[in-house]
Amino acid sequence: MSTQIEHPATPSPTVGIEGSAVRRGDRVFLGLSRTAGIFILVTMAAIAAFLIWKAIPSLQANTANFFTTSEWFPDQKPSVFGIAALTFGTLMTALIAMILAVPVGIGIALFIAHYAPPRLASVLGFVTDLLAAVPSIIFGMWGLQFLTPQMEGLGKWLNDYLGFIPLFRNDSGQYSKSILIASVVLAIMVLPTVSAISREVFVQVPRAHIEAALALGATRWEMVRLSVFPFARPGMISASMLGLGRALGETIAVALILSASYTINWQITAPGGNTFAANIALRWNEAGDIGLSALVASGLVLFVITLVVNMAARIIIARRSEFSGAN
C-alpha cells in the first residue's frame, strides 16, 4: 500500500526503531550495562595482574627451580620451593577423574537425551543437577569417612592382581588418603558438568539425522554412533574439558582427602600426593610473607592452566554453534 503513496517528507521507517534518537535515559542505561560488562573483563585482567605482581617477591627469593623442585620451604632462608609435586598430583588426580567421569557423564547425557522416557528424563536431569549443588566440603567429608573404607577392598585387589603395573602397586599397606580416592570423588563432582553440557548438545542433534539412521534399520546404538556422536563430538570434547577445568581447580574435597605429603607418588592407591589448590588451602594459615607469595605463585600457575583449558573448551564449542544453526 505504502508504495503507491509518494510522500517525500516521510522519514525512512528504519530510523528510530532501535532508538537512534538518543534519549538521556537510554544513554544512562547503556552506560550502566556496558560498564557492568566491562567490569567482568577488568576483573579477569585484575586477577592475572595481581597474582603476577604478588608472586614476584617469592620467585625472586626462590633459590631452587620453580618448576622442577618438589620441595616446599619458601619461608626458610634460603627459600626453596617448587611446584613439581603439585603439577604431578594435580594432573594425576584430574586425569584419573576424567577417565572415570567422561564415559559415565556421556552415558548419563545419552540416557537422558535418547534412552529414558521424556517424563523420567526431566526428573533425572534434576537429580544430576542436585549432585552439582552439593558443596565440595561435604564431598570431602564423605570421601574421607564413607568412601575410604569402601575403597580399601579395591585397593587391595588392584595390588594383589594388577600389582605388576607400578601404578597399582602399594608398598605402604595403607589404602586411605590416596590419589585414587581423591580422583573418584573428583570424578563424582565433575559428572554434572560433563553430563549437563553433553546433554545440551545431544538434544540439539537434528531429528532428521536420527530418524534417517533408524529408517535405514540401525539399532539404537548404531543410531547414536552414526548420527548423535558425529554431530555432538565438539560438544562432548568441550564438556570434558570444562569438567577437567573443574577437577584441576577443586580445592577443599582434595585437601580433606589427600594426606598432604609433598611428594611425587606414583602408587595411586597409597597415601600421599598434593594438588595446587589443596596445597594453597592447607598451607595458607601457616605461611609467612614469602610463603604467601609462593602460594600465590602456585595459584598463578593453576590459574593459567585452567584458563587455557577453559578457553580451549569454549572456542571448540563456540565454533560448533556458529555453523550448527542450532541456536
Binding site: F39, M44, K54, L110, T219, G249, A281
Partner: protein, 361 residues
Amino acid sequence: MSELTRDERAESEELLHRALAGARLPRWGIAASAAGAIALAIILNLTTSVAGVAGTVVVAVLLFLAIQTTWSFRVEGRRHAVDRLATTGVYATFVIAIAPLVAVLATVVVKGLSVISSTFLTTSMRNISPRSEGGGLYHALIGTLEQVGIAALFGVPLGILTAIYLVEYAPSAKSRRLSRAISFFVDVMTGVPSVVVGLFIFTAFVLTLGMERSGFTASLALTILMLPVVVRSTEEMLRIVPRELREASYALGIPKWRTILKIVLPTALGGIVTGAMLAIARVAGETAPLLLTTFLSQSINTNPFKGPQAALPTFIWDQFTSATDASVNRAWGGALVLIVLVMVLYGAAKIIARYTGIKRG
C-alpha cells in the same frame, strides 16, 4: 479366508516380524538373564572366594552382561548384541550417578541428625573447646547469611546489567567485538577455580588496599564467583523473551530503556530470580575462598566489615579438621544445615522456574 484363532494370529504376526526384523530375544530375555546372573553370583558368593556385597554386585553385573550378550549374539546376531551391551552400559551409568548422590545425602542426614538440636542452632562455639560436646553454629549461620547476602547485593545487579548489555544492546551496538569478548570471558570466568578467586581478593584487597580479612572480603570473593552464573542464566532468559513484545513497545514510542525495565525484565523475572537463587546456592557452600579471605571466629559477630566472622563452610572445615569425636559430629551437623540451606534454595528456584516460565510460542 477362515477365521484365525487368536493364537494363530499372534503366531503369524511373529513370523512376519521375524521375517522383517530377524530373530529377537523373547520379552522376558532381559529379566531371565538378570535373574540367572544374580542367582549365579549368589552361588559364587557362597561357594568361592567372591565375597562382600560390592564384590557380589560386580560379579552379578559382569555375569549379566556375559549371559545377555552371548544369548543375544547367538539368537539376534552381532549388531543387536552390541546394541544390548550399549543399552545396558547407558542404563548402568545412570545408576552410577544416582548412587553417590544417595550415599552422600544419606551419610549427611544420618550423621547430621543426631547432632541437630535447638541448642546447636541457636548458640555459638564461644568458650567451647573442640573436645567438649555442645555448642552450635548460630554464629556461622549469621556469617553465611550476611556474606552471601552482600555478595548477592553486588553480584545479582551486576550480572543482570551485563546480561542486558549482551542481549539488548550488543547486537545493534557498534562495539560487537566488545560484547563478544565479554561473553567469552563470562564463560571462562565460570571455570576460574574458587581458590584462585580467593587469592585474588586477598592480594588485591587485603595486601594491596590494606583491608582487614573480614566477612566483607569473603563476600567480594563470592560476588566474583556468582557473577558469571547470574549473567549466563539471565542472558538465557532475556533471549527467550519474544521479540514481538519489544517491537510492540517500540511501536508505541516507548524508549528502549523503559521497554527493558517495564516489558523485558518483568517478562523474564521468574527465570532471572531462579538464576540468581541458583548462583546463591552455588556460592553458599564455597569453602576455599573463605579460608583465604576471612579469619574464623568462634563467637557471634554480626558485623561483616570488622573482625573475624565464621561462615557455615569454614565452621565445618574447622570442626572437621579439629578431628575430635565431638567436633567431627558438629561438622556433620553443620554439613546437614548447609546442605538443607542449599537444597531449599535449589528446590525453590526450580519451583519458581516451573511456575513462572515464559510460555514459548
